[in-house]
């Protein structure tokens, strides 16, 4: 039985990075969980993005070797509303993706997640996405990278946005485009704190983001074949290893039954007090590893 692969996104340490934690420290925290995969945000972790100094590149590879970590996903952005009164063209969007593909490849990553600007509440991406991606499929293939749009709340699995991505895969026949699932779509109990801002303001503007869109885990069955990478979004795991928002006790068995053997890359997005994320990521890994071991014991 092939197991999950465990990773951590440095997004988990937002606000700690630059105030109480360096990138070198983050390597140490990630590796000590027993994870093997490291996910970064290009614009956050790569100094002088998009042109890191040569010495930093040497250090990057030395750290990967020292901590026995492999680069997984490289998060990037296509800032469609780049200026107050100007949007990116398809050609400019394609250029941005090509830049991130090349940089991600230099750093050893296997996936990139371009986050496109959106045009409505359901996070329908700017229509330039399709042309911008399609122009990069050959480059992605040449570099051995899979481009992954993120299926993120409030967008569920059964939704025109997700279906549009799948239609693109079917039409082009590409193996260099897939879906990244963010497990926040399975959230079924309300948040009490959010990493990105004031919870009451969010409750007013975007109640789905606070209450959760409660996608049934059975919907995984319909798309798992397009999913090579999962961001394990979570907000709080308590001292008894209970997650207060994300139903891992249903997600893990479903992923195991479906034979998912890719990464679960932790994305902590809870209280942003200093150093809390380090411990929260450890708890999440302990929890998911326990559920995986239980499933394997039952199916040995």
């Amino acid at each position: 039985m092939t197991g999950f692969r465990y990773g951590v996104s440095l997004y988990s340490y937002t606000d700690d990075l630059g105030t109480v934690m360096t990138l070198d420290d983050a390597f140490d925290h990630v590796a000590d969980t027993g994870a093997t995969g490291l996910e970064i945000l290009g614009e956050t972790s790569v100094p002088l993005y998009p042109e890191p100094p040569a010495a930093w590149l040497d250090h990057w590879f030395a750290q990967l070797e020292r901590y026995q970590l492999e680069p997984t996903n490289f998060a990037c952005w296509v800032d469609t509303r780049i200026q107050l009164d100007r949007k990116l063209t398809v050609a400019e969007g394609a250029e941005q993706i090509a830049l991130d593909l090349r940089l991600a490849h230099r750093l050893g990553f296997k996936f990139i997640r371009p986050k496109f600007g959106v045009i409505d509440y359901n996070l329908t991406p700017d229509p330039i996405w399709e042309g911008a991606v399609e122009r990069n499929l050959d480059l992605a293939q040449a570099l051995g990278i899979i481009i992954l749009p993120e299926i993120h709340a409030p967008t569920p699995i059964h939704h025109p946005v997700t279906e549009g991505y799948i239609a693109f895969i079917e039409r082009t026949g590409t193996r260099n485009f897939g879906l990244m699932l963010d497990t926040g779509i399975f959230q079924d109990r309300p948040l009490t704190a959010w990493g990105g801002g004031d919870i009451e303001a969010i409750r007013k503007d975007a109640p789905d983001m606070v209450n959760g869109i409660k996608v049934p885990v059975e919907h995984l069955d319909d798309i798992i074949r397009y999913v090579p990478f999962i961001q394990a979004k979570f907000h709080h795991v308590d001292e008894d290893l209970h997650d207060h928002q994300i139903p891992w006790e249903r997600i893990v068995p479903r992923l195991k039954a479906l034979g998912y053997a890719g990464y679960l890359s932790s994305e902590y997005e809870g209280v942003r007090d200093p150093w809390v994320a380090i411990e929260q990521v450890r708890r999440q890994h302990a929890l998911i590893r326990r559920l995986e071991a239980e499933w394997e014991a039952q199916h040995a």
């Binding site: 630059g18 945000l41 614009e43 509303r81 107050l84 959106v118 509440y121 503007d205 975007a206």
Partner: protein, 134 residues
């Protein structure tokens, strides 16, 4: 490393010649979780002891370069990195009195990947900070 608050203790000081101060300046930590194109920063409003200093009149220094709000919008290929600060330069003839002040900051960010109604979001902070010297 920077203080966790957006508003930094260090860097809050009067500017211009002593006795003829032209204003004050204040450091704000990059409040976004990613290094951000300056064109996505829509301006910074500062309030000190209840007096509002609107974004339109404030300058922002990043590294050694000073930007007006329009120059921020034009700087699509320059970024403010995570772990770095911007220095907001606020005109106020005479500067601020030495002592402890109540300071509020509001950084306007545009997040193209947020729903259109929320693409302009404001990162706010408020705390006491001290001007040491007149």
């Amino acid at each position: 490393m920077l203080e966790r608050s957006h508003i930094q203790s260090t860097g809050f000081r009067n500017v211009g010649p002593v006795g003829e101060r032209t204003g004050f300046e204040l450091r704000l930590r990059q409040a976004n979780y990613r290094g951000t194109r300056l064109s996505l920063i829509e301006g910074v409003t500062i309030t000190v002891d209840g007096v509002l200093y609107p974004a339109a009149h404030n300058l922002v220094r990043i590294g050694s370069r000073v930007y007006t709000p329009a120059e921020l919008d034009a700087a699509t290929e320059t970024r403010l990195a995570v772990g770095e600060y911007m220095t907001v330069i606020v005109p106020r003839p005479g500067g601020l009195a030495p002592g402890v002040h109540w300071v509020e900051s509001a950084i306007g960010y545009r997040h193209p990947y947020f729903p259109p109604a929320h693409q302009s979001a404001v990162a706010r902070d408020a705390r006491h900070a001290t001007i040491v010297m007149a």
